[in-house]
């Protein structure tokens, strides 16, 4: 484990460029020129001037998707390359600005989001034109928001919070890396490989659909703000996606998917793809044989993938968005994280959790695997810091932006902006590090032993973990306490899940895996957060069988 983390950090700093000068390209030239013009000229009588402007451009370039089903290629489908842009503008001053307030939940226009546009013309003029358009709109809306925020605050008691400035200016940082090319690959080899691997699905007559798709792509991000912070990131990557549909022996229909991201396509990645397809198919075979579950309350072993999703849902989501957004419609902000007090015992004492925005890749036996949340400079232009979120089970550090919470603490570089929100406290690459680890076999032994201790006939191993509290687990294996018997179940639904489960972690595995979290970029097919976690044994969780009934057999047999 230690070795893996060390390699991870070494990789991170290879090729980093903390530049002083703006990169000499049309993206920054256009953004700079328009930002300067807006700061100088954008004025409205009776309204404060722009105080902070941030521009962000994302250029997504896609190679044609290579996809095959049951041994036949699909025509080469290509989504549009897309240059999209964000403009975040705040007016007023650091003491009192227009952010941190949301007028209404009813309309996008009044939501807490930056101005956004996709399909921007890829030219200096096109970028300027769109940035102008978004900035102008953003400024107009900001003047409304500023007035509303002031009016709202006048109705409230003068508290310690209100004495805080809205913004604590923090030293700005720069990061620039060369713009990369799309991942290179031999198209014929890739097509042959994808076709061959998809043909493996023919051996499983119960599969109603089985496909493999590979999408080489590249994402360039250009960020600039009016305080002088900027960054340029260029990430060539390949999305590899497997999907299947089956109807198990009882007639229960199930879709099953798996995806991962890799920085390149070569022999090693093909070997990895082969292995992952084999594992995927083995999982499908198990799902076909699956039996119906019963109510269960007891210990659960989360495989690394499930553990990553579990950590994100119960810990990650509760640490992000630290500062509530004020609103005239509701006094409660449902998006705000629940873990806000440093020192709070949130996890089992054997667990430490980091958030490392400086990590980019992790090694695997087949080469590097990409993490989703690499972010050397945040979306307020502040150098991002690695945080120890949880140390020995207690909350230690929280993500901060330039918007202070209770004391005049400056940002630690964790402001993240997306289509749905101005920059708020966000996480990047969450890494779970247990004090002690066990091998897979030892973890299973421990699970069985705990079942025996509790008088349970079996325990569960989860391969995936649902996003929602009452979601259905895609794949779960029942492991019997007194025998070697194992069987996969279908339709197992998580019930009454609370953050208590984080404190019930009793053991962890040796090998960690990356899980990519669906993100605001997901419409472009790119992740922006990841969790790197080993398997976790949780002492108690509750499950109930799904209410969904199995379907009848197909009218006509599969050809």
């Amino acid at each position: 484990m230690q070795k893996i983390l060390l390699s991870l950090f070494c990789l991170v700093f290879a090729g980093v460029g903390f530049a002083e000068k703006l990169p000499d390209n049309m993206y920054f030239k256009a953004m700079k020129r328009e930002m300067d013009r807006s700061l100088k000229k954008l004025r409205r009588k009776g309204a404060p001037n722009p105080f902070f402007i941030a521009y962000k451009l994302e250029n997504l370039q896609l190679a044609p998707m290579i996809k095959a089903s049951f041994g036949e290629l699909h025509p080469p489908f290509k989504r549009d390359d897309n240059l999209s842009g964000y403009v975040a503008i705040s007016i007023g001053s650091a003491q009192k600005d227009s952010w941190g307030f949301k007028h209404s939940a009813y309309s996008d226009r009044y939501s807490y989001a930056p101005e956004y546009s996709y399909n921007i013309a890829k030219s200096y003029d096109g970028i300027r034109q769109k940035m102008w358009n978004l900035t102008d709109f953003g400024y107009l809306f900001s003047t409304e928001l500023y007035q509303q925020k002031q009016a709202y605050e006048r109705t409230k008691q003068q508290t310690e919070d209100k004495k805080l400035p809205d913004v604590v200016l923090t030293k700005q940082a720069h990061y620039v890396e060369e713009l990369a090319a799309l991942p290179s690959y031999d198209e014929q080899t890739l097509k042959t490989k994808v076709k061959e691997l998809s043909a493996l699905g023919k051996k499983y007559p119960f599969l109603e659909q089985f496909s493999i798709q590979v999408e080489p792509q590249k994402r360039d991000i250009f960020y600039l703000n009016s305080l002088g912070g900027f960054y340029q990131l260029s990430t060539p990557t390949v999305r590899i996606y497997f999907s299947a549909q089956l109807r198990n022996r009882d007639g229960f229909k199930q879709n099953y998917q798996s995806e991962y991201w890799t920085p390149s396509l070569n022999e090693e990645t093909y070997t990895q793809m082969q292995q992952r397809v084999n594992e995927f198919l083995a999982g499908l075979e198990a799902l076909y044989q699956a039996v119906k579950p019963e109510e269960y309350m007891g210990p659960v072993l989360l495989r690394p993938h499930a553990a990553g999703q579990f950590i994100y849902n119960l810990l990650g989501k509760n640490i992000q968005n630290q500062k509530p957004i004020l609103s005239s419609r509701s006094e409660e902000d449902p998006t705000v994280g629940k873990f806000r007090k440093v020192g709070l015992r949130v996890m089992a004492p054997s667990i430490t959790v980091y958030d490392n925005p400086l990590a980019r890749y992790v090694p695997s036996p087949y080469g590097e695997i990409e993490l989703g949340g690499f972010m050397p400079v945040d979306d307020e232009g502040v150098a991002a810091e690695k945080l120890t979120l949880v140390e020995n089970g207690r909350l230690k550090q929280l993500p901060r932006t330039m918007r202070p919470l209770k004391e005049k603490a400056s940002s630690n570089g964790h402001a993240r902006m997306n289509q749905r929100s101005f920059a708020r406290e966000g996480l990047t690459n969450i890494q779970v590090q247990p004090q002690h680890t066990l091998s897979d076999a030892q973890l299973e032994q421990k699970l069985r032993a705990r079942c025996r201790e509790l008088g349970l006939a079996y325990g569960y191993i989860l391969h995936d973990f649902p996003e929602e509290n009452d979601g259905v687990v895609s794949r779960a294996t029942r492991v019997y306490a007194d025998t070697d018997k194992r069987e996969t179940v279908y339709g197992l639904r998580v019930s009454n899940l609370t953050t208590r489960a984080l404190r019930d972690i009793t053991a962890a595995g040796e090998q960690s895996q990356v899980v990519w979290i669906d993100s605001p970029f997901v419409f472009q097919g790119l992740p922006s957060q990841s969790v790197f976690s080993p398997a976790l044994l949780v002492d108690e969780m509750e499950f109930v069988p799904t209410d969904k009934k199995p379907d009848k057999k197909p009218f006509v047999p599969k050809p």
């Binding site: 013009r37 036949e72 970028i127 102008d136 709109f137 009218f555």
Partner: protein, 564 residues
């Protein structure tokens, strides 16, 4: 008599225009048709025995090359070139008298069709057949569920005025037609788009602009359980631009241009395109500085393209067959067959078999509709008298069969839609003469002015009973014409009215037939359509103000407009 001449003319135009490039093909040589037919046979053998039975099945397989590119301010937004192959299945459960497609009482999705992107056929066709099988199974399950809901709904439903069956089997057809793929020099087109997009530089009143090209070229395969097997061409290409500005009081003004073509030679020259864009820029500028129109009822000339849109919106949608059947529709014309519904001067025909008019490709051209029924000219109105309706495979009282107008976007169940809607005037004058008549009419009615509607981008018409049975059309270029002949552009004049009254107002027509090519959106999605019409003079039309944005225009001028 005059009508017969026109129909003959349509046919000749059709033969001459389509004969030069098509190549013959044989249905039995088409592998997709073979596999689709095989699946139909295999499925129907079992489907018929189910409860409820699945009694009809059809597939549409689109195999097309799609190319789209868009530019603005000298940069490309995107350029996409890909092949698209997707199958769509339509399954009918129950019986032709009552099946799963009947409108559900509560929210349902039975107007949607299952579609899937298909793999290549390959050597054994297995992957293709498996994808098709899965698609069909899903659709069959959904059709049975929908039919059960329809059957339950029927227990409590009030009596239907038109109790015609839900479906009539289409006749068996076999047809195969191929064209060489449409070929355009894509690099040349992208460079052209970039160059013309630069014409907005230095024009601060242009808030945004778009210059684009789109092309679809390939084949559509159709197979059904009646035994029909069709291969028909898909050929659409269009160059277009749009310029947008905004007045200080929030009115959004657009000017646009469209060029529908089927070869590179038919594209406008760069000089022509540049001249057109510059003219549109001038029009945009003039409209942004033009006075706002006031609500008024005055004599009007609808220029040819505007008249084509007017007919499409105000009359065309109301003679779509399914709207005569459902009691939720207003049925403006349902019981008026044989009665005069428009001025006797006009004859209206929908003829989807017409590929060109005046050397302009018509977007509403097709050989067979999405239900596998052969397209044919349909006389809707003859000398003002309503003769019939546009029919899909859903019969109505007095009209038991489809006339080849069952159309829909991929993924949407076809309903009766227009193709090429043509207005023919039995008596015409020159356009100059028509303007003279307008001035006389203004004076005769003692109106302060009349209007010439130069361009009409579209609008909407409400046909459901729980809304007013009105239409509202949005002209994009309108001139106010004073009794002395003076013209000035005005903005913000919407045409509003009711269909029965509006068409009786036509008092004269010009001989300047023009083509409107566009896309029409309705229950079955977006379909390409065309309208052909002469300019007409209307005794009067009512105008009302256009809605405006409550957002002021940008504070700063656009940088592209500021710099030259």
């Amino acid at each position: 008599m005059a009508m017969k001449k026109y129909i003959l003319l349509f046919v000749l135009v059709g033969l001459f225009s389509t004969g030069f490039a098509q190549t013959t093909c044989r249905v039995q040589d088409q592998k997709p048709l073979e596999l689709l037919s095989q699946t139909v046979k295999r499925s129907m053998h079992t489907f018929k025995k189910q409860d409820p039975p699945i009694y009809y099945l059809n597939y549409n397989l689109n195999d097309v090359d799609i190319y789209t590119a868009e530019a603005s301010e000298g940069g490309l937004l995107y350029a996409r070139d890909m092949r698209y192959q997707a199958a769509q299945v339509q399954v009918r459960a129950g019986s032709p008298r009552m099946d799963n497609t009947r409108t559900l009482k509560t929210a349902g999705t039975n107007y949607l069709l299952d579609t899937v992107q298909m793999p290549e056929i390959g050597a054994d066709g297995k992957a293709f057949l498996t994808a098709l099988w899965r698609l069909t199974e899903q659709a069959a399950e959904a059709a049975q569920q929908d039919f059960n809901r329809v059957r339950a709904d029927s227990q409590t439903a009030s009596a239907r005025k038109d109790n015609s069956p839900d479906f009539v089997f289409p006749p068996k057809e076999t047809f195969c037609e191929e064209y060489p793929p449409l070929t355009f020099d894509k690099q040349k087109i992208e460079k052209l788009l970039l160059r013309v997009s630069d014409l907005t530089r230095g024009k601060p009143y242009v808030l945004n602009s778009s210059f684009s090209f789109e092309m679809q070229s390939g084949s559509r395969y159709f197979v059904d359980s009646v035994g029909t097997q069709l291969k028909t061409p898909v050929r659409l290409a269009r160059l277009m631009y749009n310029l947008r500005g905004k007045t200080a009081d929030g009115a959004e003004i657009n000017r646009s241009g469209f060029y529908d073509v089927l070869s590179e030679e038919e594209l406008p020259s760069e000089e022509q395109l540049t001249a057109d864009v510059q003219r549109s820029l001038q029009e945009l500028h003039d409209l942004l500085n033009a006075p706002e129109a006031e609500p008024i009822t005055v004599p009007v000339i609808l220029k040819n393209k505007a008249m084509a849109v007017f007919v499409h919106e105000v009359l065309g949608h109301r003679v779509e067959g399914h709207r005569q059947k459902e009691d939720s529709f207003g049925k403006t014309f349902t019981d008026k067959v044989g009665q005069e519904i428009v001025a006797p001067l006009l004859t209206i025909v929908d003829d989807a078999t017409l590929p060109y008019f005046n050397n302009i490709p018509l977007r509403g051209f097709y050989r067979y509709d999405e239900e596998g029924v052969k397209a044919r000219p349909v006389t809707l109105v003859e000398n003002g008298i309503l003769k019939g309706f546009l029919m899909s495979s859903s019969p109505i009282n007095g009209f038991a069969a489809s006339n080849g107008h069952g159309r829909g976007e991929e993924g949407m169940r076809p309903v009766a839609r227009m193709g090429n809607t043509r207005v023919i005037a039995s008596k015409t004058v020159s356009y100059d003469e028509l303007e003279k008549q307008l001035l006389e009419e203004i004076k005769r009615q003692q109106k302060p002015y009349g209007f010439i509607i130069e361009d009409l981008s579209g609008g909407f018409t409400m046909t459901e009973t729980n809304f007013p049975q009105t239409f509202k059309l949005t002209p994009t270029l309108v001139y106010r014409v004073y009794p002395d002949g003076r013209k000035e552009p005005v903005r913000g004049a919407d045409i509003v009215g009711t269909p029965l009254a509006a068409f009786h107002e036509v008092i004269a027509a010009a001989d300047d037939y023009g083509v409107f090519n566009g896309s029409c959106g309705a229950e079955s999605g977006w379909v390409p359509v065309s309208g052909i019409a002469p300019s007409v003079l209307l005794h009067k039309l009512e105008f009302e103000k256009t809605g405006k944005s409550d957002l002021q225009p940008p504070l700063l001028p656009p940088p592209f407009g500021e710099e030259k």
